[in-house]
């Protein structure tokens, strides 16, 4: 009897979670539909987009700088003994370069960006929702979705690729320092080696997918905040679930986009 009760509770909890999950997917789908419907309609709120891009860029710059530097340094130090084992030390800068440009740079930057920005947007919009600021904006005849949501998603989508290029650059500096530490190599040889190995075709898919990642961070954070309920508890929940959902979606979309890229351009 006790066991049957406990399994009933588990089943009802699981079905509640599943319902919430599918509601969220439907909500996100509707949200992105609203975004594309409204993004082309004036007013374009250019000043707000610029402000958000400034804020998001500045907010994330220190943490992505440190992360990029450490990633470049650590990957190089880790790969060095392996390359020595195969007698391929000369290929170290090129191998590290390709890993950073194709995968590590975009994904790590996106995940850090999700952690920093998605929760911030979720908390900010969530607190505006529960304190009726969004309602006040709507009643004053201003479209809050356009003013608050579209501008943030737009800013996230376009600032993340810029941050990614910057992180890749910083990661190369970290990698060069590691190369100097583990083997004697001039920076000219290092740059030559990287340029010789990393092709334009390696960089383009990596950078292009960060537009998608930026969009995911913006839309998930905005959706969670904009639809927050239950007072301050709801705001906290919006902030934390925004990070989890955005990070998970980045990894899933990365997998899909890598597959699509390889399917479209098998030679890359």
């Amino acid at each position: 009897m006790k066991n049957s009760n406990s399994s009933n509770i588990k089943i009802s909890l699981m079905s509640k979670r599943l319902t919430e999950f599918f509601e969220m997917i439907a909500g996100l789908w509707q949200f992105q539909y609203q975004f594309f419907k409204q993004v082309f309609i004036p007013p374009y709120e250019v000043e707000q987009i610029r402000k958000h891009m400034d804020e998001l860029g500045i907010k994330t710059l220190p943490i992505v700088s440190v992360t990029g530097f450490i990633i470049g340094l650590v990957i190089t130090m880790q790969m060095h003994p392996v390359m020595v084992r195969f007698g391929a030390e000369a290929f170290l800068p090129g191998s590290v370069g390709i890993s950073i440009v194709r995968e590590l740079g975009p994904v790590i930057t996106a995940l850090i960006f999700a952690g920093r920005v998605s929760s911030g947007i979720g908390a900010e919009l969530g607190s505006m929702r529960v304190t009726e600021q969004i309602d006040a904006m709507e009643v004053s005849g201003v479209n809050p979705f356009k003013y608050l949501v579209v501008t943030r998603i737009f800013a996230c989508t376009f600032i993340l690729p810029i941050l990614t290029v910057y992180v890749i650059f910083i990661a190369f500096i970290g990698s060069y320092i590691a190369v100097v530490l583990v083997q004697n190599m001039s920076y000219i040889y290092y740059i030559d080696s990287v340029i010789g190995s990393v092709e334009f075709g390696d960089a383009i898919p990596g950078i292009l997918k960060t537009f998608v990642f930026g969009f995911i961070v913006g839309i998930v954070g905005s959706y969670k905040g904009y639809t927050a309920t239950n007072g301050t508890e709801g705001v906290g929940k919006a902030a934390t679930t925004a990070v989890v959902v955005a990070s998970l979606m980045i990894l899933i979309f990365d997998m899909v986009l890598v597959k699509v890229t390889l399917w479209l351009w098998p030679t890359i």
């Binding site: 900010e124 607190s127 505006m128 304190t131 009726e132 600021q133 309602d135 006040a136 904006m137 709507e138 009643v139 004053s140 005849g141 201003v142 479209n143």
Partner: protein, 252 residues
């Protein structure tokens, strides 16, 4: 007299909870209508239905002749531009200073020059006696100051209809009386029509021309404050004896 707000048979439910049940009422031009009722009787829901922050399940709501429930988003925004709404917590935009809060509707809906905007901001701040708060952030203001700035933001576009959701909740009796007197003063000087949702009998006594009492989703009683407070109806006696007691406690 012109009818500014005309509500006909409005119903609203949340799931199985029936909050408004065929509510009908009208408000005349320059009239102050106070909406009383216990917590959870749908007073704020009624106010939010009037500006379509919530969609009623049935009924019709006319504001200055426009059926707001049949307007497209653009037409609805045009109606909203000409009304003011003071929220319970004032709902000032946290990330903006008082000046930016006040100029927000002006920048978006009017073609004022920066000088005209500044003059308007100073003029409404003078009306609510908070000229010195112009560069402060909402987090630096007290509850009463927030309500005043919220009021200033609502009247800056000179609306003909003002909606107040619990304008004195959470304030001490002195500030509450000041806000109520300010609402009345502004209503007289700007010739506004007002709908005020409140629990506060003192506030209602100062402002109301007429009052209604919502109970179980319907307009159960209507009249002047004196008529309602002196009524022999069992529900009204119960309701107002509690309110009067609370009011006396606050005054003491």
């Amino acid at each position: 007299m012109n009818i500014v707000v005309d509500i006909k048979n409005v119903s609203k439910s949340f799931g199985s909870l029936n909050v408004l049940n065929n509510v009908s009422l009208s408000v005349e031009e320059n009239e102050n209508l106070v909406v009383f009722g216990q917590s959870g009787t749908g007073k704020s829901v009624l106010l939010k239905c009037m500006v379509r922050l919530l969609e009623p399940d049935a009924g019709e709501i006319y504001i200055e002749g426009n059926n707001v429930l049949h307007l497209n988003p653009k037409e609805l925004n045009d109606v909203r531009k000409h009304l003011g709404f003071l929220f319970q917590g004032a709902a000032l935009y946290d990330s903006m200073s008082v000046r930016e809060n006040l100029e927000f509707p002006l920048i978006r809906h009017f073609n004022f020059t920066p000088k005209e905007r500044e003059d308007k901001i100073k003029s409404v701040l003078e009306k609510v006696s908070l000229e010195e708060a112009i560069d402060k952030m909402p987090s630096e203001l007290s509850g009463g100051m927030k309500k005043r700035i919220g009021l200033a933001r609502s009247i800056i576009s000179e609306p003909k209809l003002m909606l107040y959701d619990e304008p004195t909740t959470g304030l001490d009796p002195i500030t509450s009386k000041e806000i109520s007197s300010l609402i009345l003063e502004l209503q007289k000087s700007l010739n506004m029509t007002s709908v005020i949702v409140t629990h506060d009998l003192l506030c209602a006594e100062i402002i109301a021309d007429r009052a209604i009492v919502l109970n179980e989703g319907i307009v159960q009683h209507e009249g002047t404050i004196t008529e309602l407070t002196t009524s022999s109806d069992h529900f009204l006696r119960n309701f107002f004896s509690h309110e009067i007691l609370e009011d006396q406690n606050r005054r003491n």
